[in-house]
Symmetry: C2
Subunit: 232 residues, 2 copies
């Protein structure tokens, strides 16, 4: 089939490995594969109608991002997060994000303020659950949630710090996917609103405090859940 895999749309001129990478990434984040499941290049190659090389490249990239494990000579697998691992990620976020938030609040300009408002508005108006998408957060809400948190930090103006946030967020969401049950007793709405208010009021102390609290609650909500694997 060579290169002609873009049967339908017009701009579809991407590297195959990129497409497969994006697809696999979504699948893993969405939980299509169970933790510790093997990711067999052959099967994936067949599914996507591509050669081993492109699947392999996608998998190697995933490993670099922490979205797949590599067992030398034994292939690739979906990472099996332990409870400990999850706590470590949460702690790292609690350690770093409040500091970056302070920097963001100190430096953010009017454009940043506007984007924070916009992101919060979208988040507040997006339903966290929809019946069609199973028992988990809707993908629209998850994305709005990510964008809100990221936007809050973007005022810092430092891409390196934002990359760090991105990495930790990804790890966090992956762990959450296999841990989080609905926790209806959680006032996420209110927490986000207070976060927005403090940020826009340039109240760095309060904002950092609320964020730390927010992350602590998130961590607490996810301990001792099913699907947990033993530590490596």
């Amino acid at each position: 089939m060579t290169q002609t895999a873009h049967a339908s749309n017009s701009p579809g001129k991407q590297m195959l490995s990129e497409q497969v990478y994006a697809h696999l990434r979504n699948a893993i984040m969405r939980g299509d594969h169970a933790p510790a499941d093997a990711l067999k290049p052959q099967d994936l190659a067949k599914e996507h109608g591509v050669s081993l090389a492109v699947v392999r490249e996608a998998l190697v990239r995933l490993v670099g991002e922490g979205l797949a494990d590599r067992l030398p000579n034994r292939g690739f697998a979906v990472p099996a997060f332990s409870d400990r691992r999850w706590q470590e990620i949460a702690e790292a976020r609690r350690t770093i994000e409040p500091v970056v938030l302070r920097m963001s609040i100190e430096r953010g300009d009017v454009d940043w303020e506007a984007r924070v408002r916009a992101a919060h508005h979208r988040l507040a108006r997006t339903p966290a659950y929809v019946p069609e998408e199973g028992e988990y957060y809707s993908s629209a809400w998850s994305e709005a949630h990510r964008v809100f948190h990221r936007t809050l930090l973007e005022g810092c103006g430092n891409p390196v710090l934002l990359e760090t946030f991105d990495r930790m967020w990804t790890a966090s969401e992956l762990a959450r996917r296999w841990a989080a049950q609905r926790t209806p007793d959680r006032d996420a709405l209110g927490e986000h609103r207070r976060l927005e208010e403090a940020a826009l009021a340039r109240d760095a102390d309060t904002a950092a405090e609320v964020l730390a609290q927010h992350l602590t609650l998130t961590a607490a909500a996810l301990t001792g859940c099913p699907h947990q694997a033993k530590d490596a």
Copy 2:
């Protein structure tokens, strides 16, 4: 030549891609390739006596680590750090590392103290420059330097935070490789000693302050140097 590339030693039973990856990584960090130089899979494959696939895998991993750039359909290249990029990395380190150091000082146990002492001893006794290795820091000193800084933070006990440190250190060293001239007017010895003392005295405030200062001086020493590329 198939697999039989391990002609000499006994345990040498690693994936080819791993070997090539390690080799390439060292070469880039050592500055064997100039910034923005193309990393041509074909040439590299010939040099290492392997196929394109393994070189490609190594390059993809490097890209994930920020040690190579990828230009879609135009191959791989050594990253060309701009002055701005360097400043961003330095700022990120100043933002994060003091916080982690505080955590480390609060939590580190006796074993950690011992390892800090050992790491500092090794660093202090390793010559920063040797005539044989050109005008740059000796590789032994660079490694001792990394180990000292990392050991200082390892008391925090959080692998996620340490991974973050590792990433930033790598980026930092790569940028430094192309920026740093010898700065003989820099009292690195003294700074490291004060860092060790404050850490072992469990004086988190002083230690964090000294570290921030240390990183600020490092950043200042590297601005406006040659080899700089324009911003992307």
